[in-house]
Symmetry: C2
């Protein structure tokens, strides 16, 4: 079969043709493409010669696509724009002044937000955009250079990663919650409290069942309580004194330290998993994204 290369003198000439056709002017096309008018004229002439078709009618001070040229132009435009868009998406990850970080709403609220002031101070030139999503979206497809995800890196073969924090879980309640209540002495005492459950709609997260199992308490003994599907709302409920929830150390550690949340019992569920900063393996990162990654990883571990 005739290859595309044999059909046209050079694929580059198609780009010239596209611009010339769109602008109906060789001179304008040459300006747009940053080359001389002669080069455009030459490229078009060779393309026409090669295809054996007149693509342009040379009129006074302009050129006009012939009918055949019009048809070909439409197809070339479609083809090139398709490629153009794809190439632009690829590059979007690696360049650009802004950096998009994909993470959960919980991570955004409890980890990023408290550190944003410091971020602005240390990396003032970077326009950081946090994209929260509780789906595990496709960074490559979305053109996002950086994300925070919990889990096993082996599950993301197309991404490189660096651990940010281990997954450690303990019960917390609001500072005022214990007033008028007796603090639980043992893990089993917690069964008598108002438990707030996180019901992740898309991901699977550790639950009260996991936590109680780890201390040898049968999951069937766990009372039903408040079911909330967003971790930010879970913690807000806890802060409002509505009950006890599981706290992820890397998220709530700061609140515990400042005293607005209170740890209950001494048991910590350690899943062995880590939260990671991850980025697409095959795509080189922009300077800015690299700086953001280094900044994330340099934050003191809670």
């Amino acid at each position: 079969m005739e290859t595309l290369r044999s059909l046209v003198p050079s694929i580059n000439s198609l780009v010239v043709f596209e611009a010339a056709g769109r602008l109906s002017s060789f001179t304008a096309a040459s300006r747009e493409l940053g080359m001389t008018q002669a080069a455009v004229s030459y490229a078009i002439a060779r393309l026409e010669e090669h295809l054996g078709a007149t693509l342009f009618l040379r009129e006074y001070r302009r050129v006009r696509l012939t009918e055949a040229g019009e048809r070909f132009h439409a197809d070339v435009s479609i083809g090139l724009s398709h490629i153009h868009r794809s190439a632009r998406d690829l590059r979007a990850v690696t360049t650009g002044s802004h950096v998009t970080l994909s993470c959960s709403t919980a991570f955004a609220s409890f980890w990023m937000v408290p550190r944003m002031a410091q971020f602005r101070e240390e990396l003032p030139h970077i326009d950081l955009r946090i994209q929260t999503s509780d789906h595990d979206l496709d960074l490559l497809g979305e053109g996002i250079p950086l994300a925070v995800r919990g889990g096993d890196p082996n599950h993301w073969p197309n991404y490189l990663s660096e651990p940010l924090a281990p997954e450690e879980i303990y019960p917390v309640c609001g500072a005022g919650y214990l007033a008028g209540r007796s603090a639980p002495m043992t893990e089993a005492d917690l069964l008598l409290h108002q438990l707030i459950h996180l019901e992740e709609p898309y991901r699977t997260a550790a639950t009260w069942a996991d936590w109680f199992s780890a201390v040898g308490i049968d999951r069937r003994r766990i009372p039903k309580g408040l079911q909330i599907n967003d971790y930010v709302l879970v913690i807000q409920s806890v802060l409002a004194g509505q009950g006890v929830a599981l706290g992820w150390r890397h998220l709530v550690g700061g609140l515990v330290d400042s005293g607005v949340l209170v740890r209950l019992t001494n048991h910590v569920l350690t899943t062995g998993l880590q939260f990671h900063v991850i980025w697409p393996r095959d795509i080189s990162m922009s300077q800015c994204a690299q700086q953001v990654r280094e900044w994330l990883l340099a934050q003191p571990r809670v």
Copy 2:
């Protein structure tokens, strides 16, 4: 906006990338493209460098597209194949061993068929394909280099043309039709005969009304008769002795000369229009198509 040129090192590299991705091998791609393996390796390396993305994983004795590469490859393939198809269609008109001639079924039957033996003798190397259509199809769109059409060349600004025969119309009947009937002496006598009408569904052709008008006979006096929508069938009906029809000289002249059809009356309706050989203006013709055109125009006028 970033132009496509700035996104990729050269558009040619996309062709190399497409082949390499499809074949999962630089060496195989180099063979297909008729270049060296080194050139492919170099082109891909530059493309990756330019896009800032790793497109291939180099494995033992093969390369494999990365996820990002896969995505980009799909888009590039689509884009290039779109252009490829369009370019091929353009070229199909100008090259190729066969020549397609578009004409009406009537012209095919009564003009081409009687001359085909001679055509084969004079241009044996040409694979002539006659495409009959009673629509006025778009030669450019169909990739057809040559057609025969009646009418005014000014109506086809995108085509060049050369007249083949004037439009001359006279009544004819079958050789046996007059047996037992009195031959019409005047044009008006024809009104007493069984007239066969051609009812062109798509084009407008001259009718009995036109013919009678030209000799000063009111169209309202014309009797209804057989209505047939294909001129080939009209003439077959006439040959079968079913009645009298209008005969176009360039089509039925040969049948009249050989005696199987008989001209009636002396009046000839000359519309002033011509039948033309036409071809797309903007597309250069293949050698073969040119020969066919010259052959058509060199045929002795009936």
